[in-house]
């Protein structure tokens, strides 16, 4: 048996589908000993994948309980393409899988929150925009100033369950329309957000001047003066949340 042609295929088949797929002539030693050796590898692989999911979704696991989480995890790992991912990315798509498995929308959204949190944790660095930078500008300069969403910031609406679970740790989240997850410095910050803040952050996905941001976002508002005030208030809240980067 050529190792590269068929030896690796046989080992992979045995690891994925059981020792019956292992040719008797591949390894030296007694069948018991070979089986024990293969089990060490199979256990190491399974353990590493399951732990990676547990560490990615600790709150989801706590919410539905270890046994159910473990049951979902084992089934998830059998889905096409999942084990082609490195361990750090193995949780991609877990939220949709939970829905497919009949879990409540809130549970799946809690998993989505945790995935977004992890994405912010590992996102690229950028200097956050400080409020005092803006306050130093004259009004015309302020309108010409370009801002952009911080690469480690997202804002999204989540299921009420997420607001409830995360709200136990973050004040003001219970009644918020949306949640900001940002990492302006070392720590990931979670803050309540309004729908307008979500709209602004989406509009600042690419660099945009504050003047254009006001025009784009204010178009849908009736009272111009009040709209500008509301937008500026929302922008300040985004800056305070660490969601805007300095260019």
């Amino acid at each position: 048996m050529h190792w590269l042609d068929s030896g690796q295929s046989a080992m992979m088949a045995a690891l994925d589908h059981g020792p019956a797929h292992l040719p008797a002539e591949l390894f030296a030693g007694s069948p018991d000993r070979v089986l024990a050796g293969m089990k060490v590898h199979a256990n190491t692989i399974s353990h590493a994948r399951l732990v990676a999911l547990e560490e990615t979704f600790p709150r989801t696991r706590e919410h539905i309980g270890h046994d159910r989480f473990n049951e979902h995890s084992r089934l998830f790992l059998l889905q096409p393409g999942v084990t082609a991912q490195p361990l750090t990315q193995i949780g991609a798509g877990f939220e949709q899988f939970l829905i497919d498995q009949g879990e409540a929308a809130g549970t799946a959204d809690l998993a989505r929150f945790e995935w977004r949190w992890l994405t912010a944790y590992h996102a690229a660095e950028a200097e956050p925009l400080a409020l005092d930078v803006l306050t130093s500008f004259a009004p015309d300069e302020l309108l010409e100033h370009t801002i952009v969403r911080h690469p480690a910031a997202i804002v999204s609406r989540f299921d009420p369950l997420v607001h409830q679970v995360i709200g136990a740790e973050v004040a003001g989240l219970d009644a918020a329309e949306a949640i900001i997850i940002a990492r302006p410095q070392a720590q990931v910050l979670v803050s309540p957000a309004s729908a307008l803040m979500a709209q602004l952050l989406a509009a600042a996905k690419n660099p945009v001047t504050i003047g254009n941001l006001l025009m784009q976002t204010g178009e849908s508002m009736d009272n111009n003066e009040a709209a500008v005030a509301a937008i500026m208030q929302a922008l300040v809240a985004l800056i305070n949340a660490g969601a805007i980067a300095r260019l």
Binding site: M1, L4, D16, V34, A36, G37, A84, P86, A124
Partner: protein, 305 residues
């Protein structure tokens, strides 16, 4: 042929430990201290580069702080050099980027494979010691070294299985690999104890078979033990203290090799940082004793001559 190879050993010949997030603060304090203390036994740290493949985040902030103060060794677990599909190109590109960012003193990976292009196994699976496997493995090591622009070390594996068609020893395979590619050996002494026990080999002979001039780094770790009707099975889990037998094998090697960069590996059930320091202190003491004994023997031989 072996004498022509320069061992790639830019790491200082002292002790290091695997850097864990729970120890970041304490470890940085230790290496930042202006006055060396009895605890300043660590002269370098090792990390798994795969834990730093993200664009940013706290791990990078910590690693930057360490890289400014002490040499780093990048011990990769994901290149899958023995895979029939060849080295994992995504992993290689990310490793290359990380090397450019942090300029580690050493880069290493394992004599193993970890899946195919469509299925990753987070484990270090065995490679047969055959000419076919050697040809393939050497080509992949050369590919990585070309991309990184540097030589690397390859670690001897913990083995639970021996291939029926092995036609050379592990040491012969590694020596041939070094001769072909210019790479060095990361010699894991715990893996020698594990493999020797699991496969019924002579651990002393395995230690003695390795050419010490090729060894750029040594690993020491603990393992788990299972007793079965078919015999004892040691499992390389890096989850406990270095065993007495591994310490003995390490001293046996150090008597021949002298001082080498030595790492205490502890990856599961990670203990307090002080426990790692205590293990590192033992490794340093053994190295000192072995070095003294080497010098003493050399002195006696010189006197005889």
């Amino acid at each position: 042929m072996l004498a022509d190879i320069t061992p790639p050993s830019p790491l200082p010949p002292g002790t290091g430990v695997g850097l864990k997030p729970q120890h970041y603060s304490q470890a940085l304090d230790l290496v930042s201290a202006s006055t060396p203390s009895a605890d300043s036994i660590l002269s370098w740290f090792e990390v798994h580069p795969q834990n730093y493949f993200s664009a940013g985040g706290p791990p990078h902030r910590w690693l930057t702080a360490f890289a400014e103060r002490v040499p780093l060794s990048f011990h990769s677990v994901g290149l899958s050099l023995g895979s029939r599909d060849g080295v994992d190109c995504d992993e290689l590109e990310q490793l290359a980027a990380l090397c450019n960012r942090y300029a580690p003193a050493m880069v290493s990976d394992h004599l193993s494979w970890s899946g195919s292009a469509s299925n990753r196994y987070p484990d270090l699976l065995p490679v047969p010691y055959t000419k076919e496997a050697l040809d393939h493995f050497a080509a992949q090591v050369a590919r990585v070294q070309d991309r990184l622009g540097r030589t690397m070390l390859i670690e001897n594996p913990s083995r639970y299985l021996a291939f029926a068609r092995d036609d050379m020893s592990e040491a012969d395979f590694l020596h041939a690999l070094c001769a072909r590619t210019g790479c060095g050996i990361l010699f894991d002494i715990n893996n020698i104890e594990v493999s020797a026990t699991n496969l019924g080999l002579d651990a002393d002979a395995m230690i003695d078979a390795i050419d010490p001039t090729l060894v750029g780094e040594v690993h020491l770790a603990g393992h788990a033990r299972e007793d079965h009707a078919h015999g004892t099975l040691l499992i390389d889990d890096h989850g406990s203290q270095v065993t007495d037998e591994t310490w003995r094998l390490f001293e046996r090697f150090a008597l021949r090799a002298g001082a080498r960069p030595v790492l205490i590996e502890w990856d599961t059930d990670v203990p307090e940082f002080d426990t790692l320091l205590a293990e590192a202190a033992i490794a340093a003491a053994i190295t000192r004793r072995a070095t003294r004994n080497r010098q003493s023997v050399r002195g006696q031989l010189h006197a005889l001559a």
